[in-house]
């Protein structure tokens, strides 16, 4: 079963948040939505779970009872304990009694939260709280799992745990989509979508994205065209969309960070030219 959005437009008043966005979320995979603040990641996910109604286009998603959602904000109730939070989520989705107990124990074990089962959510660290939120979103084995920046601000070890939980859900047959600002996670995803100012810049597997990337990226000490270069470590990289870099400049094999930045710059130049 493949879920997703087809040619979706979303506006809030005068502001267009999404332009003609088409995204596929197939079951059994983790799809990563990449983009900066304001790119439209949250709007995309909220449209997918039908929290926002699109102005145009079509949304393919299962019913609310078969969706698991973790918003960018908390995801758990601060005044309730870990166990109480999970029980509430289970109850809402119809997981009760012995089935709930079993599922809860298993989830807490996977998330490494068993020792904190009776601790109040407000007393958990950021990473642990996010993991709790993920547990609550998958307690009912949803067909579509949607997570908004689950790993932002979370420590590396918890991020690995989170990633493992998502991978498990995908391996078990759910369609999983998450937004992130961490490109290493995007590189690890089966399928990634790069958003910029409400447009899809590129999507596909990491290999496909790299293969389809137009132009070249060069490595320089100082920029030839300042509007097209950015810092990497101690050097600068520069993007030549038409591949017309001066031959003396060393060329680099672009990684995802290069690709994302380069495409953003290109889009901005486009928009500027048209304006």
């Amino acid at each position: 079963m493949t879920y997703g959005l087809t040619s979706v437009d979303v506006s809030f008043g005068d502001v267009r948040a999404l332009h003609d966005v088409t995204v596929e979320i197939p079951a059994g995979q983790v799809v990563a939505i990449v983009g900066g603040d304001g790119a439209g990641k949250t709007t995309l996910l909220r449209t997918l779970v039908r929290e926002v109604a699109p102005d145009a286009g079509h949304v393919h998603a299962p019913s609310k009872a078969e969706i698991g959602f973790l918003p960018a904000s908390t995801g758990s109730w601060a005044a309730l304990s870990v166990t109480q939070n999970l029980n509430f989520a289970g109850g809402v989705y119809g997981v009760r009694g012995a089935a709930l107990d079993e599922r809860r124990t298993a989830l807490l074990a996977t998330a490494g939260l068993s020792a904190a089962a009776d601790r109040l959510a407000s007393r958990l660290s950021g990473g642990m709280r996010r993991k709790l939120g993920v547990c609550m979103a998958i307690v009912h084995r949803p067909r579509l799992l949607v997570l908004d920046e689950p790993s932002t601000g979370v420590d590396p070890v918890s991020r690995v745990d989170l990633w493992r939980m998502l991978s498990e859900a995908a391996a078990a047959g759910s369609a999983v989509v998450m937004s992130t600002t961490y490109l290493d996670e995007a590189e690890r995803a089966g399928h990634l979508v790069v958003l910029d100012a409400g447009h899809v810049l590129v999507q596909g597997s990491y290999d496909e994205v790299r293969a389809g990337f137009p132009g070249t990226v060069t490595r320089t000490g100082s920029a030839v065209r300042p509007g097209w270069s950015w810092r990497r470590g101690r050097e600068r990289h520069e993007y030549w969309p038409d591949g017309d870099a001066p031959p003396r400049l060393p060329v680099v094999e672009p990684d995802l960070e290069d690709i994302v930045i380069a495409l953003s710059l290109a889009r901005r130049a486009d928009a500027g030219a048209r304006a």
Partner: protein, 287 residues
């Protein structure tokens, strides 16, 4: 007489029976960008607060610009906390005016890409620009050292690169920078790294020093889902990487055995471990 901008000598901090920082010795030299890494609860924030003079040590000494932490010396430091430190219901310009007034310095000019947000409320500015604005405010009084707590959290790649431009600029001018981050690719941009775990400083130096002797294996197979499940169920420290599976701190034979028992046909090869995998191993040991 120390030439370091901030320095901790065998610093320990206890809260009751809990030791948050345990005999940590570190320093930041002028012009250096030092990355402070560690899981939550490792003691990074506590250490930072002691370096800023906001928290006294239980044992050990903290030196700020060569001397004990004092308010006059703290004026020569800059600090960007995790939640920015900007007033959300004031505009960027108003925030900068306030900071300039507080330090008695002239109001700093806004860089070009922020100028269009000059009179916009901070709450209405995109996160990347907010963080940039916080930088400008923290650097406005030309500090000799800057401490940054997760300055690029939640920010996109281009904005992150721009922030690092600023960090490098400052370092090139002789400012010492201490930065905490959870993003390993960002750690690679630092001159030197410090890894904390459970209050202790467990490694410092280059990325290779941090990774240390941690081993990692890559499992390649068509049936990645089965390989992942088998290894996960067996309790191995697995990370799913696209279509391959990475395993940290495990012997090759052990992994091959588990896969064989699960009837998964796969190749298993050793690869260089990552910083995350070192941290994963530390966490497993702690549990």
């Amino acid at each position: 007489m120390s030439t370091k901008v901030v320095e901790a000598r065998s610093v320990t901090r206890r809260f009751g029976s809990f030791t948050a920082v345990d005999e940590v010795t570190m320093d930041v030299a002028p012009g250096e960008v030092v990355g402070l890494l560690g899981a939550n609860g490792a003691g990074k924030t506590t250490l930072m607060r002691m370096l800023l003079g906001l928290l006294p040590t239980t044992e050990g000494t903290v030196l700020m610009l060569g001397g004990p932490p004092r308010r006059e010396r703290r004026r020569r430091l800059g600090y960007v906390p995790q939640n920015l430190g900007l007033y959300r219901d004031l505009t960027l310009t108003e925030n900068l005016a306030f900071v300039a007034d507080a330090y008695g310095t002239p109001v700093p000019a806004l860089p070009d890409d922020l100028s269009r947000y000059a009179d916009v409320l901070v709450a209405d500015i995109p996160l990347g620009a907010q963080r940039q604005g916080a930088f400008v405010a923290a650097l406005s009084h030309e500090p000799e050292a800057v401490l940054l707590d997760e300055p690029t959290s939640g920010v996109d790649a281009l904005a992150r690169a721009t922030l690092w431009d600023t960090i490098r600029e400052q370092a090139d001018r002789g400012v010492g920078v201490l930065i905490t981050t959870h993003y390993m690719q960002e750690a690679q941009q630092c001159d030197r790294l410090l890894l904390m775990s459970q209050g202790r400083l467990v490694a410092q130096g280059s990325e290779a020093d941090i990774v240390g002797s941690t081993r990692a294996l890559v499992v390649r197979t068509d049936d990645w889902a089965a390989a992942f499940s088998a290894l996960n169920d067996a309790g191995a420290a697995v990370i799913l990487d696209g279509r391959t599976v990475r395993v940290a701190d495990a012997g090759r034979d052990e992994i091959a055995r588990i896969l064989g028992a699960a009837h998964v046909d796969a190749s298993v090869e050793p690869v260089p471990a990552t910083i995350e995998e070192r941290m994963l191993v530390l966490a497993h040991q702690a549990r």
